[in-house]
Symmetry: C2
Subunit: 198 residues, 2 copies
């Protein structure tokens, strides 16, 4: 993909956890990835006009393609888990690419995240308990709301963990965004597929 397209795709995929990738971050990153040999500039293909209609006469679009080393590095990145894997953004990114990794990794990351959120929850309970009279009503309300969010996320994570353990989760990739070809149709979803909304 080219930069603009990449930004749109990522914004759609990660929309639940962050607003949008800024250009001031996107373009330097692409250069960094290219310098490391993980992506290359691929030639623009103006022949496939039926694939991408309404875009015949192109200009300076730079199309990037992942390399073999890049794929290897990507697999390594989403499988390894450090402390930053469990903060809000890090976990969200890992989770969004769960379909690209194995069950053991998914389970490890889900449990690490749960531990982290439980710690945050305990911290909030502490503040609500010990420092309640020192803080004003609005601050306390904020902590209560945050505590509530923690409790809900722990329940959500536990559902997902139970789901993984019972084997009711997809192992193979669903749709090839980076690699290209789709290698399998999507097996049962991680949740109970509660998709009431149209």
């Amino acid at each position: 993909m080219h930069g603009y397209e990449l930004r749109k795709e990522l914004t759609a995929k990660l929309g639940a956890i962050r607003a949008a990738i800024s250009y001031g971050s996107l373009y330097p990153t692409l250069r960094r990835l290219q310098a490391a040999g993980w992506i290359t500039e691929a030639a623009e293909t103006p022949a496939t006009a039926e694939e991408v209609p309404a875009l015949t006469s192109r200009r300076g679009r730079v199309v990037y393609k992942i390399t073999a080393e890049g794929k290897e590095r990507f697999a390594q990145l989403i499988a390894q888990a450090g402390p930053e894997t469990y903060d809000d953004t890090g976990f969200g990114v890992h989770f969004a690419f769960f379909a690209r990794t194995d069950q053991a990794t998914r389970l490890r990351i889900l449990e690490g995240r749960r531990r982290k959120i439980e710690e945050r929850r305990e911290g909030l309970r502490d503040v609500l308990g010990r420092a309640a009279e020192r803080l004003d009503a609005y601050t306390l309300e904020l902590q209560r709301h945050g505590l509530d969010a923690c409790e809900r996320e722990v329940r959500w994570l536990e559902e997902l963990i139970a789901n993984e353990r019972s084997g009711r989760a997809p192992t193979v990739p669903n749709i090839g965004t980076a690699g290209g070809r789709r290698e399998d149709n999507s097996p049962p979803p991680p949740g109970e597929t509660r998709n009431e909304r149209p």
Copy 2:
């Protein structure tokens, strides 16, 4: 307060919305505030040992104090609302200092935040509806969880807005953290004071 203390206080007050202020951000900020004339270095007061026990012989602690210009600027900052007032961190910070501003400001910020979250909610519904078959099961689950969080926050905000409108919210500051002296005891809280936890 001095830096370390400030960090602890802010971490307790804002714990629900962010982890902790880093030193790499705190100390440069203090210098910036001092350069702008909004805070000054106050003399260490070793006389009030009964106020702060277990800290008699101090070292190089730098104690800061807010100036009159700083108080004015602070009041200005929490009352004015730009686009950044409604993102996650900006709103959290404003909300944590709601006891320091007036009802009109609180109402304006709560409504701006609600609008913003409603937009995010619609965006997520769009993705879940239009791009559902293009995304894998985990990504969809992430969006569902995010959508759920949006819906809950909207309900929370509407409760708070109704509360403000009915006049059941404190107008005067509760405890003087920056200014020093407490000027009033805390009036009724914003919520229904559902404080079941000990």
